[in-house]
Subunit: 455 residues, 2 copies
Amino acid sequence: MDASRFEELSGWLGERLAIDAECLAEHGRDPSHHPAAPPDAVAYPETTEEVARIVRWCVEADTALVPCGAGTSVEGGTLAPTGGLAVDLSRMNRIKAVHLDDQDAVVEPGVTRVQLGEHLAAEPLFFSVDPGADASIGGMASTGASGTNTVRYGTIRDNVLALEVVLGDGRVIRTGSRARKSSSGYDLTHLFLGAEGTLGVITELTVRLHPRPPAVSVVVGTFEAIGPAVRTVMEVVQRAIPVARAELLDGVAIDAVNRYSGMDHAVAPTLFFEFHGSPAAVEEQASEVESIARGHGGARFRHSLDPAESERLWQARKDAYYAARALRPEAHAVSTDVCVPISRLAECIEETVADIERTAIRAPIVGHVGDGNFHCIVLANIDDSQEIAAVDAFHHRLIERALACGGTSSGEHGVGLGKREFMLKEHGEGVAVMRELKRALDPHGILNPGKLFLD
Amino acid sequence: MDASRFEELSGWLGERLAIDAECLAEHGRDPSHHPAAPPDAVAYPETTEEVARIVRWCVEADTALVPCGAGTSVEGGTLAPTGGLAVDLSRMNRIKAVHLDDQDAVVEPGVTRVQLGEHLAAEPLFFSVDPGADASIGGMASTGASGTNTVRYGTIRDNVLALEVVLGDGRVIRTGSRARKSSSGYDLTHLFLGAEGTLGVITELTVRLHPRPPAVSVVVGTFEAIGPAVRTVMEVVQRAIPVARAELLDGVAIDAVNRYSGMDHAVAPTLFFEFHGSPAAVEEQASEVESIARGHGGARFRHSLDPAESERLWQARKDAYYAARALRPEAHAVSTDVCVPISRLAECIEETVADIERTAIRAPIVGHVGDGNFHCIVLANIDDSQEIAAVDAFHHRLIERALACGGTSSGEHGVGLGKREFMLKEHGEGVAVMRELKRALDPHGILNPGKLFLD
């Protein structure tokens, strides 16, 4: 695209309109296996009014607009496959208000979860949604992200009360309110959450905060096989023990972590639990869970009430993604992300493990098993067409399996470029309805084109 | 309307297409102050396919379609101001599945909350949403209803996982899944929740169930004035004590209950709390709350761990609506329904009480105060234009006050006919977006016309 096309924009954005190769390249890649797809220019707005003006300019110039934040999508959500203008919201990173009495905060979309966490460090409240990477909160909202403590505190969809959004024609709307509930009109807030920037650009969010628990305890234990580990979590969830986190690493993932971090965890399926509550309550929950785990053959339990020791225990879980990638540094990681009803989780994971073994692909498994969600981190050489075909076939079988269990193709990563082909199978006629909504709210088709829907 | 117009419908619905005066009249009124507005005919479909066929017939015949269930809307949501066909879903009342392991149930829209409660009586799970009246679950979903234990378990919007919906052109879609989370595509489920039947007819719902608490305790106490009562609840919520219910009745409401039920509660602002958890936890919570209440001058505390005694204590709260109406049997009840951020609740209620006293209207106050939501049950003679003008003016001031506090015009009753005039003030340009969604999903404009939007 002719860079002079952006002259008018750079006239008023100045150096906040970038067209240098490095910046374009940086905005054309993400941690995923999706091929690089750089935009033609990158704008860095600092206010809602600037975003609206940029949107209007894109309509006039018939130019694709790709909203982006921290660039941590693993489904290519912020790549620019049709070129156009990336709108990088990372400079809109003000924390506008923290309302301790109402347990909410008002933030701009570029605020990252670590930034908000540090801002709240001395407060009795915390922001719960924790997707691993230091994602921007606008990006998390657009992706419908979640993370390790969803089983207790919900996904980002459960933690956004209100939004400000710039629509595809430059109009600015506010959705929701700081009241805890409303039955006044359509729920526009949830329409934009998880819409991946295809219906509007989020320019402000009011998010829920949660009281910091008086005590936190951690329990880690290992199992002979993955089935009993998953069935332990199923029983914990079904007994409604209010675990704050319930995470699984399979033996392959544990082995990867040992190699990556020089640790010596027993190489076996391992569960990581965290409990939040009063000191007495977390003790009670921890021993209840350990007793359930023993009933499923669990062993080698380690407990901790000490934050530093807990941090060390959790490190294995936190390193899992990069440790998995380090198993095969020349390969890319294709992330799968199915989520099923908890009652079907053991069968879904066991069949998937058998499938991985049959297929001879390398795919450590990590899971937010308390939610029924797990990832196979499939390591694949994207230049080897035979290997990619095998991985694709595996991914299709995995999603068929999850849908047959009453589940979903994506628990938290979004559709982006990578899950588009599964939309019709999952939603049927619902996809047509989504397209109708897209046409209604983005009549010019400029917002994040090529995402969510196969053309 | 010419009844012969419905001949084709009655040809295949038989006696399940009613046009007798009694049935039309019954479907043309609800418990609210809104004038009667009967439909021209009533259809009683028994399957999704029949609903779809009826919708297609209505499109062909350019006839308004008004979905209805138990008829408990207090905003005229199921009235037929433009006539047309009422589609009464009360015969679609099968409980299709209860999944104990996944803590969900699949129900048809005509299932009522009492019916589902009785079905689950022997199970370890319960359905939490409790809006007082024995509403249908489809109606609750369409209204965005909630009730007394929202503070702990959420509104109906938080408790629906998946829907089957017949759209305005007869297409049938399924939204969501039984998985606990998903980031696959737009959140169509939440689009239909609270849409009051204007975007589609809900024909099946998958709802969340919650574990029955091992112990329940109740605490009731009175206050010298309404401000300290509300500030007690604010402190309880802000300290994150996990109360299951936190309800307020003002002195006028308590007096009404005493007259209605021959009880002798002290006539003073009264708080009703319920706690769910282990026996030890509910005891701890109850004494923590009582101690907070004493700090605000609370007195006359009654505790109960006994279900029968608890039921008796709660009866006052349950009778409040009918007791209020009995204060002035010739009058109608105009329900207000504002909801504000909890930090603003005391000022909003205190200003409202002063307003009621100045205006000399009769309006007992009951509140789901743990959510920031309260109702003034305004008793008004709807044939007295001067009185209605005073009530209208009061209602406008109340909503202005709630919106100025960052709240909403309706916490749980919906917009229906009664709150349309406040939509623009509350949502601004958002109303235009809602209209665009309406046009996209109901292009023929047949679904529940005249509701939500002022024409």
